[in-house]
Symmetry: C2
Subunit: 368 residues, 2 copies
């Protein structure tokens, strides 16, 4: 069981991140500016950068921190935001996205970062990297500003799949706990299962089954299961990791983002109202910036695809240099801690459990 130890490696030396330079709303210049920022503050990082060679060479040449630390892989095609995933699957071999994922497949890098089309990135990742043994549905995990000590909670799945049964929810708990350990350095993360009430008799049937299954696995998997949590706990301090199906998670994520954005607009309006309020806004500038830093989505940029042979970080499509740099920082942290292998070991160690479980109706476990 040595594979279960998840203490971050230190002094792992140079870490390579595979980066898709294309497909984001702001083009390759924003991506190159972002990786340059990361390179400047982090001497242990190097990049394989995927996209049209001539364009990328020019952009990279302009950034001193990138000198000697970027290998460019020529890929002439680009996946656009409008491309259907199935179309990319059939016709996308020459795209920068495909090439970026294949660097992880070839073990040249542990983690890939892309600002491109989420659906296409997910489909390509599943097909090229394949699912981990024991994982039926991969998941997308995001960080969410919260009242927890670490300032953020993890929520998954936020949209890889619209459904999840109790076995999938158990896998999400295992993967989310592993992410919290390696991405947030929480030794024993608190896991909560999203429901409409905290009483054990409430909610859908698969949630009650998942409640029992996760309870049984909590000790072996070294996390604390806090039971059912409610929507208000996603930004709260009762759990570090919130587990749900991709339909519910996606709607919660977008509702939270929409609410934050509405409040931001109303706040700006309120401060424009009168000369006095405009003066107040001036004086409050740094205070408001401090607030913004806490909830700015660019600073927690990166949905992470979990459950594959390798890790893929999906940056916001509209990410600027700050956003790309935040996604790279996350990718570096996960890569350096050996997250991909630890997650695989964690999931593999649990797949044998459900076979012994009389509660389980549907066993997706395979031996690893």
């Amino acid at each position: 069981m040595t594979a279960l130890s998840e203490n971050p490696k230190s002094g792992a030396g140079r870490t390579t991140i595979s980066v898709d330079a294309m497909g984001g709303d702001r083009g390759p210049a924003a991506v190159v500016a972002g990786i340059s920022r990361s390179a400047k503050v982090n001497p242990d990082i190097r990049f394989i950068l995927h996209g049209p060679k001539a364009t990328l060479e020019k952009l990279v040449a302009k950034k001193k921190p990138l000198a000697g630390r970027v290998e460019i892989r020529d890929a002439q095609d680009v996946v656009s935001m409008e491309d259907k995933p199935s179309h990319v699957m059939r016709n996308g071999k020459a795209t920068s996205m495909w090439s970026a994922i294949d660097s992880v497949r070839a073990k040249e890098a542990d983690v890939c970062v892309s600002c491109g089309n989420t659906g296409a990135l997910m489909m390509l990742s599943v097909v090229r990297l394949r699912k981990l043994p024991g994982v039926n549905r991969p998941a997308i995990a995001v960080l969410w500003p919260s009242r927890s000590a670490q300032g953020f909670n993890i929520m998954l799945d936020v949209g890889a799949d619209i459904r999840a049964d109790e076995q999938d929810l158990l896998q999400y708990a295992l993967m989310g706990a592993s992410y919290a350990r390696n991405g947030m350095e929480l030794k024993r993360p608190r896991i909560g299962l999203l429901n409409v009430g905290t009483e054990e008799h409430k909610g859908r049937a698969e949630l009650k089954l998942a409640h029992d299954l996760i309870t049984q696995n909590a000790d072996a998997a070294e996390f604390d299961f806090v039971g059912f949590v409610e929507g208000g706990d996603i930004p709260g301090d009762v759990a570090d990791v919130i587990i749900t199906d991709g339909f519910t998670g996606n709607i919660a994520l977008k509702t939270g983002e929409g609410t934050a954005s509405l409040i931001g607009s109303l706040l700006r309006e309120a401060f424009k109202y009168s000369p006095l309020s405009r003066l107040a806004a001036l004086l409050a500038y740094t205070s408001l910036n401090r607030l913004n830093e806490r909830i700015d989505p660019r600073r927690v940029n990166g949905g992470v695809f979990l459950g594959l042979n390798g890790t893929v970080v999906k940056s916001h499509g509209s990410a600027d240099a700050t956003g790309v740099s935040a996604a790279v920082k996350l990718a570096f942290k996960l890569s350096q801690s050996g997250f991909s292998e630890k997650l695989a070991a964690r999931v593999a160690s649990a797949v044998s459990l459900p076979q012994d479980d009389p509660m389980s109706k549907d066993n997706n476990g395979t031996t690893s």
Copy 2:
């Protein structure tokens, strides 16, 4: 089809609201203070107030605006927040909640207001008022601060039932449209169906069926169906009414509330940070109040139970006088517009449609 006309009645004279004085976190004093505020600004309103007679008489006697406008119905028992709905069902005949609902059942009032236990209030309402012909699952509708011209959107169901099939979702669309017309004076409300993407091929099977069913009924029911909407549209301006199942709706509601509350806390923290930021907070006082008024849940206080013979407004358990008064204002508006009868007529006129619909697998319609 005259029953389909839904223009608000005007000059309807005295309107009676049935009010449960007990069961809220702040006790009967907050409820009496709330109805007194409403009475002061609205000469057309009178109340039937339910609870322990001696206590209520003392409280009412202190409020001048209530003189001659309150009939007290003695009810000695109180439903607590911890009581299980099934327990209240069996043993709750002497409670103020039961008595308040029975005033609507006896047609003494069109609308009932209570700050008490939501689960018990819902169960008592369903059993005592009964479901409207054609309605399989009643729903709870809330108002949500939004970018729409009216400042709020309606969302339902937020937790009456954890599931909804395509027929239920159609009923929610009809009921939500009727609520928007009578509660917000929107002649032709825009209805959106909550999903994880706006493309028609995405999402769960029942959502695709509901999409077709609602499309077919939109013209006859006089609303605009804008199709699928996402979580970010709940506080947005693409739809006035957002339709979803009670599981998803409850999680979206609580996620939005939790996010708003987190941002509020961070904002207060930010303004306490330095002497300069404290000065800014002072100058920004009215601006921040203006923001607060837009998103203060007390000002849009009142989940409305739809689909029953009569309307029940559920006020927040923690409502103070301002919150109770907002719930009473909503109840008055719905009562005066003849909402209960109009909603019944609207639902009855649609129940025959599904029987002719080859898409429908499950027909809950009965003739009315």
